[in-house]
Amino acid sequence: MSKDSLFSKKNLKLIKDPLDDNNPITVQVLGICSALAITVQLKPAVVMAVSVFFVMCIANVVVSLMRNMIPSRIRIIVQLVIIATLVILVDQVLKAFLYDVSKELSVFVGLIITNCIIMGRLEAFALANTPWKAFMDGVGNSLGYALPLVVVAFFRELLGSGTLFGYPVLENLGLYQLGYENNGMMILPPMALVTCGVYIWIQRMRNNKLVEQN
């Protein structure tokens, strides 16, 4: 095994890669269902991103620690049990100490279990790498999940409701007096797809590595 320092270039690449070149949502198109469902407003999007961060990092480390013990025939079940346990714990802790946030998120916390990014990283990375690398990979991928989520939610909330984190930005700017109206389309699910598409478009315009060569 190589004697990398904790923050060697190779390890940092594990964080940087999922942010752009190998983004789980916009490049691998994983976890897209939850990304589309909770981007109407910024607050649930951010809390979801934070919850996924916790679950993904811990699950990655746990699976990585157990990688030599897990029987390969039931490894998917084992991964699922680990994720589900963590998600239930997060849900219970939120209900006990952050009751209002847990009410806001309600069903979405449970949906983390079905987030394909987490399963994907456990299967593809944590099972074959050391705990520290798995942790870095978890950090990178959850940030990579958070980035498009927050960007899409930012535009959907701003253009759809005229607010940011519930704060009436456009009203305070006085845009409504000039005849501006909120775009109701932005609140509807299809616009999540379109906004996500625009994000991917812009990302590919800037990053040539992502453009497929024919």
């Binding site: 030599n68 209002d100 609140i187």
Partner: protein, 254 residues
């Protein structure tokens, strides 16, 4: 060790399940007191909101005893039973036969005015819906109403817990003369001046109908109690009217 042997696989699965079960159940038991405290505080917050007192969850704990004067339990004949309204689990009561139900009722005093608070529980589209509705002293005019739900469709039925839906309930009446009318949530919007109807939510018709049914069903359970106490209230208001006449007379004499 061969991790792919059948015996190892079964052993691993067994041990994993036991560890996970122990972990989760201890977390659930350990966190239970905190969670039930939150739920209790939220219930108090909702009860207070139904009489127009909007406070934070922590403050509700303190203010609750200031405003809520009585926690009654009545039966289907309108007789007062032993027990406290706060401890009645309405989700269990609504499943019983009408004559076996314990009906919780809170009496509040807000800025000198008497309010009767009736807890509600019914069915929405996907799961239970509940709330509190408060009546003024005449047991006819609604002072305020709050609703909440477990799993109604976000953006549609789930909107019943928003102010724009709840506010129009205030000032509506449940009786037309002597006849019990309840309050209807009307698809397409209530007509102007409708004393017994409020606007429904577009796309949330089944939840809206659930609210209508819930209010009708729960309020009608209390009709015997209303009939029992109404004469007393009327006498009371005659007395207080007489009092004011006397005061006026006194002031004229003086």
């Amino acid at each position: 060790m061969d991790v792919n042997k059948n015996s190892y696989t079964i052993g691993f699965a067994t041990i994993m399940v036991i560890i996970v079960a122990a972990l989760l159940s201890s977390a659930a038991i350990g966190l239970k007191p905190f969670q039930s405290k939150n739920i209790e505080q939220e219930k108090k917050q909702n009860i207070l909101k139904s009489v127009g007192v909007e406070v934070s969850r922590e403050q509700a704990e303190i203010d609750y005893s200031t405003y809520i004067k009585e926690e009654l339990v009545v039966n289907h004949l309108g007789e007062i039973q032993e027990g406290s309204a706060f401890n009645v689990d309405l989700s269990k009561e609504v499943r019983k036969d009408a004559k076996d139900q314990s009906l919780p009722l809170y009496v509040a005093e807000v800025e000198g005015a008497l309010r009767y608070i009736i807890p509600l529980r019914g069915k929405g589209l996907w799961g239970p819906i509940w709330g509190f509705i408060s009546l003024e002293k005449d047991l006819n005019t609604i002072s305020a109403a709050v609703f909440d739900h477990k799993a109604e469709t976000p953006g549609l039925g789930a909107e019943i817990n928003r102010d724009f839906f709840q506010d129009p309930f205030a000032g509506k009446t449940i009786f037309d003369g002597e006849e019990f009318k309840s309050i209807k949530v009307i698809k397409g919007g209530a007509k102007e001046g409708d004393k017994h109807g409020v606007d429904g939510i577009s796309g949330g018709t089944i939840t809206s109908d659930g609210v209508t049914d819930m209010i009708f069903e729960r309020l009608s359970m209390y009709l015997p109690y209303f009939n029992n106490v109404k004469p007393a209230i009327e006498v009371d208001s005659v007395f207080s009217a007489m009092d004011s006449v006397v005061t006026v007379n006194d002031s004229i004499i003086n």
